[in-house]
């Protein structure tokens, strides 16, 4: 197994665990909830960097002719939705922040709309994350088996394209 795949899997598992904790501010407390979410933003950037080739390849094909894409189109759109939703969560979270923003000595105008948006986008992110994991399930299982059980498995391409496969 390539080192990149191992890094990807470890990062993804850690990010997912942090995501679950961040989604439960009642248990973790508001300060952990906010700081953890800020850290999650950084891990998402690393996640995107590790999958940069796939993003570029699918984007090119999507705008070139739109042909040759199977499930990659669904995956691509879903990823964009997840990205936009993540930005919405971060932005609305910052606007209603009780720990991070005050820590910098800042105060932001309060607005109930941000609160509602924060809840809504957080709920949507659960649905999108569920779909995101579903679409990558084969890769996750395959890489996990390969890494933990040291079992030889066939390389899995995530929602590959017809003419040229792009490994996740």
């Amino acid at each position: 197994m390539s080192k990149t795949n191992r890094t990807k899997l470890l990062l993804d598992i850690s990010t997912f665990a942090a995501f679950l904790v961040a989604m439960d501010p009642r248990t973790s407390g508001i300060a952990i909830h906010e700081w953890l979410t800020i850290a999650l933003g950084a891990t998402v950037v690393v996640h995107l960097l590790l999958n940069w080739n796939w993003i570029v390849e699918v984007t090119k094909r999507l705008f070139a002719k739109g042909k040759g894409l199977n499930g990659a189109r669904t995956n691509y759109i879903l990823n964009w939705l997840l990205f936009v939703d993540g930005i919405l969560i971060m932005l609305s979270g910052i606007m209603i922040s009780e720990a991070v923003v005050p820590a910098f000595g800042l105060t932001l105008p309060m607005n109930f709309a941000w609160r509602s948006l924060h809840d809504l986008s957080a709920n949507i992110s659960l649905l999108l994350m569920g779909l995101h994991i579903t679409l990558h399930w084969n890769w996750i299982v395959s890489t996990f088996k390969h890494m933990v059980l040291r079992r030889e498995t066939k390389p899995v391409t995530v929602l590959s394209m017809e003419s040229k496969e792009v490994k996740a």
């Binding site: 439960d24 009642r26 990205f83 930005i87 609160r115 809840d119 569920g130």
Partner: protein, 92 residues
């Protein structure tokens, strides 16, 4: 250097989307005036109004999140299965 450019692209795209959301939501003063303003101490708290400093029981929120994600996954897979079913050939 390439990585830095890529990070920059991600951040710029995120900033553009964030800026658009901010404008759309009405982060500007005009929209804020229409919103009911909160007094200090009325700050909105995510998921519940109780005083939460953490460690107040079992992580039911995590379980709830997992259930919601599983349901979304199940609905997607079931829908996919239904759509991919080929109709039986009709004998003339």
């Amino acid at each position: 250097m390439t990585t830095l450019y890529r990070i920059l692209i991600i951040l710029v795209v995120a900033s553009i989307i964030g800026g658009a959301i901010y404008m759309a939501v009405g982060g500007g003063s005009a929209a804020n005036q229409q919103q009911p303003q909160m007094r200090s101490g009325d700050r909105p708290r995510p998921e519940g109004g109780e005083d939460r400093e953490g460690g107040d029981g079992l992580p039911f929120g995590i379980l709830k999140s997992l259930v919601i994600m599983s349901v979304a996954s199940g609905v997607y897979l079931a829908g996919n299965k239904l759509l991919s079913k080929k109709p039986k050939p009709v004998l003339a």
